[in-house]
Amino acid sequence: MGSGPEAYPWGMDSPDGDGRITNGRSTRHRKIASALRRRTDRAWLRWVPAVAAPAVIAAGVLVGSIPARAGDVLPDKTPAEVITLMAGHTTHTFSGTVEQVSELGLPELPATGPTSGPASGDGAAAAVEFLTGEHTVRVFMDGKSKSRVQVVDRFAERDIIRRDNDVWFYSSKDNSAAHLTLPDRAGDLPLEQPALPDASHEGMPVPPTPQDLAARFLAAADSSTAVSVGPDVQVAGRPAYNLVLEPRTAGTLVGKVSIAVDGENGMPLSVEVMARGTEEPAFRAGFTSLTLAAPNDALFTFAPPPGSTVEELQPRNHTQWHTGPGLPAEPGTHPSPDQVEAGIKDKIRPYMAGTGWETIVRLTAETGAGSKLSAVLGETPLLAQAAVVVPGGRLLSTPLVNVLLMDDGRVFAGMVPADKLQAAASAP
């Protein structure tokens, strides 16, 4: 036995039995060793896909997450021209998906809370629901008088189907339907939000669409607002003007509102509200997909499914609180312009203090909103925890909206700093 080859145990296997042993062994050793080396050298190559696959995915996600810029493909327009374009839009036939995201730091309510059925619930709870979390709404419209709005919940859905004067409400959670016949004149009204002639039907909360919000924020834009047009954006695959409203007053929590206005037809595609001092939107509602073709007409036909409970509603006075059309409603309140019963509106219209961005909604105890909101807080302990006890009541504070619930039942709300609400509450 030589001194070297013994180190390689495989050399022992097949002694050739003649003089060529040493020679043959060393050749085989070299071959095997080099094969082994090659194998270990190339072994890392086998892991390349394992590294490449996540890398490719990460790269794809990064590219996809870069805010879509249309690259200023649209002809330049002044802010006034963009506002005119938006005001004149006549797009009332489309199907689209609206996604609403609130990052207000409020705990999320159950998607189909105890107040989801048409029979129960109230507007205050609905307003709170849409102040939290994410909501997806599918909107189908064919002209002003045919519409269908689907609030998509997990394994549940709330529908509002309108064909001319017939409005159906359906909630899959408890399989209940409600029917409302609108007064004749309602069909002719120039509805800014044609989908929802009476979205304020109690307990059938619908998050505001970009159109509602755009109209509301524009109405709030007064002389104290800097209006500009930012670089073009891409919303739902459509190039859009980016109209930016920037309140100059320090009396509001709103830092910036940007409205994406479709470059082609002037339709508001998305609304983002940035709280003061942040770049990330605290609230966003926008189309994630939009088709301008007429939806299938069968969508607007609704018959209560077998086994459902059906309630016949009368067009009635709204007992819930509303914000007037000229007000920067905090996102999430009901969008109903409420033209149907404009006369009654003044009676229940909450008293408002301040103007423009600094508007404070003040609800007296008689409206019952305070007790309803308190009830909502009672039902959701998480939300109750978020409410801070302040002198005379509780304060629900978010970066964008403050709501002050007084112990005497009054409610103050607005996109203003909390001390302004307290000042309004203590004012005579």
Binding site: W47, A52, N175
Partner: protein
């Protein structure tokens, strides 16, 4: 058993490409045949079929379920037997389906290694990559069979115990039984896609060990962990990346018109998981010293 079922006339390593492809196909055929001949696979599928049967019998013998209680659709069962299938699929998504898929996927490589048959499989000219692909295809076949079993058993027991009629969708629209059956199959397909990512994870874990039970348990535990993480609001940024995130999204197939968003997102997510864990399994299995 498996080595015996390998094609005896397997072409030699120098055979043309078509020959090895044929070997791959017959390997796949034998893999699937072996998988579905196993008593364990049948036990898993029978356990899954028992879920709708239990639900249907429980609803049949008990009083009416008040609406809004229990899992979605449960209150509809007495009016329409097809809802047994929908309810059963909903109930089986969080645990039962991942459990059975974890057992099958975790067994793919580790099971052969444990039986000592892995090296015989690798003697065949098919090669390690092809064996890995065939094993994964077998797991996918089970991913498809599992929700289909729940759906079919649910529809059958529902039709046996309750009246079958037009189905009310979440949107309040009513569809006829044939279309409802189509939606049922769509949901089964959705769930099969949903489980593809978990199968890839199980396949990778299976290449790490020669103890199949370890890989199975790890796979099932991961599926539970992923679902728990999905419930924590503090980890919201992570949620869209969890492979279980869209598992319960199949409700979107019960809307009118069908909402495809979650199907597409789910497909993309699962494809990502298949790519990452498939690549990991490849890296591990090809460089692994097969000793058993």
């Amino acid at each position: 058993m498996l080595p015996n079922s390998l094609p005896a006339e397997a072409p030699s390593p120098r055979a043309p490409e078509a020959g090895t492809r044929g070997a791959g196909l017959s390997l796949l055929r034998s893999e699937i045949a072996v998988l579905f001949r196993r008593r364990r696979t049948w036990a898993l599928l029978l356990a899954l079929a028992a879920i709708p049967i239990l639900i249907a019998v429980a609803v049949r013998v008990s009083s009416a379920v008040p609406p809004g209680r229990g899992p979605a659709f449960l209150d509809r069962i007495t009016q329409n037997g097809l809802f047994v299938a929908f309810t059963a699929m909903l109930v089986s998504v969080p645990l039962f389906l991942p459990l059975t898929v974890g057992v099958v996927a975790g067994d793919t490589i580790a099971g052969e290694a444990n039986l000592g048959t892995l090296r015989y499989l690798l003697v065949a000219p098919a090669g390690r990559v092809r064996l890995l692909l065939v094993k994964y295809a077998g797991a996918l076949a089970f991913c498809l069979a599992a929700p289909l079993t729940v759906a079919l058993a649910g529809a059958a027991i529902g039709a046996a115990l309750f009246p079958v009629g037009p189905v009310t969708l979440l949107s309040g629209d009513v569809i006829q039984p044939p279309e409802a059956a189509l939606r049922l199959l769509l949901i089964a397909a959705y769930l099969a896609v949903s489980l593809a990512g978990l199968s890839a994870i199980g396949l990778f874990l299976s290449t790490l060990t020669v103890v199949p039970v370890g890989a199975m348990a790890a796979t099932v535990v991961l599926s539970v962990v992923s679902q728990v993480l999905d419930q924590l609001p503090q980890l919201e940024w992570l949620h869209p990346w969890l492979f279980s995130h869209y598992w319960l999204g199949f409700g979107d197939l019960l809307r009118q018109p069908v909402m495809w968003d979650s199907f597409v997102s789910n497909g993309l997510l699962q494809a990502g998981y298949v790519a990452v864990f498939g690549a990991l399994a490849y890296g591990r299995f090809v460089t692994k010293d097969v000793l058993s």
